[in-house]
Symmetry: C2
């Protein structure tokens, strides 16, 4: 097939818009209640599976969490993890942390847990022998692909990492060999910003990339 | 600033082209000798730094490897790691592995090592307490951002993971706290394909994403 399809040439306009997409991507924690169409979600997940993966191992596994009881367990997991994190800060920083909204678990119409199947034999270990972490990195690449595709069609994604991953895997009763890589909140954003929430609330500022030549 | 800038709306055409970008991204191992403009490379690295990062920690550190003696050390590292990997396969699979071209280290005009600064205090540990791996995941996201931006302007990227990462860090004499996340070969590709090299050479085939609803 690859012989007969002409490779695309991406215009300057597309490249500029791709820059806009990177600039406006954002980690979204404030969602409108509007549902995300099931077909749209399926399309985003299939798009994610176009991501690069080490040895073509495709180790991503997707779990859409709909059961209200399971969602409640995830929220509790977040709240306890967030409380523990809060208590590690002191003074003004603790106050600032307490004011940040760090997840959209309460509002997001879609909860998507993304796992790495560490037991997969797909790819036959190629590329993983000296850097076994490449397997979960591949799942990170899939999450980012989904994130960008979602933002391009007006859907926001928030990656929640303030969670006990082992507890979450137990709650969702997935295979022991599946490692949680991301818990994604997905839905239409309440508001859009070019600056990250953590910059807007003065938690941290942008730093130009450091480049060393050797 | 975010108050006065209108958020972009991405057209159906852009979304379709973004799908083409994901489909045609590819891990490139065959490069033309044409150099990559230094300004273009700098722009790609600064684009990478628009990636999401946990707690806005921006832990990516970029090392452009130009010194021929250092490049030779990296190639030797790859060759030895690749030989060890080859000897883990048997029979027909070993034969197939031996025919695969698994890096473009010999041809790529640009070698870019991307590290995670595990000692960074930027972001004040936010989001990393229960999932400390989020720090290196952030660097993976930056690599993917660079990869997509590069492909959009006709530049190919190949991620080499058949390397001993500790030896590579020692050879490049980077800080002990910097963990190698990716060694990227960058340049103009000799040929373009819609199917991954590993599928084309029948190492592994595409699998539709598995989606479970709970």
């Amino acid at each position: 097939m690859s012989q007969t399809v002409e490779p695309p040439r991406f215009s300057d306009k597309f490249q500029a818009e791709l820059g806009d997409l990177f600039r406006w991507r954002r980690d979204v924690r404030r969602f409108r209640p509007d549902p995300v169409d099931a077909e749209r979600l399926e399309h985003l997940i299939q798009t994610a599976s176009l991501a690069p993966s080490v040895g073509y191992s495709q180790p991503w596994r997707f779990v859409v969490v709909q059961d209200p009881a399971l969602r409640q367990k995830v929220r509790l997991n977040f709240e306890e993890s967030n409380q523990a994190a809060l208590s590690s800060y002191e003074g003004e920083q603790a106050q600032r942390y307490a004011t940040l909204k760090l997840s959209g678990l309460d509002q997001a119409p879609v909860h998507l847990a993304v796992f790495c199947d560490c037991s997969t034999t797909t790819g036959h270990q190629l590329g993983r022998q000296t850097m076994p972490e490449m397997l979960e990195y591949s799942v990170v690449l899939a999450c980012h692909t989904l994130w960008l595709a979602a933002r391009a069609c007006g859907i926001g994604v928030g990656w929640v990492s303030i969670l006990d991953p082992k507890r979450l895997s137990l709650d969702l009763a997935v295979a022991n060999e599946w490692k949680l890589v991301a818990y994604l909140c997905i839905g239409y954003p309440e508001e859009e910003h070019v600056d990250p929430e953590l910059a807007r609330y003065q938690w941290e500022q942008f730093q130009p990339a450091e480049v060393i030549v050797k």
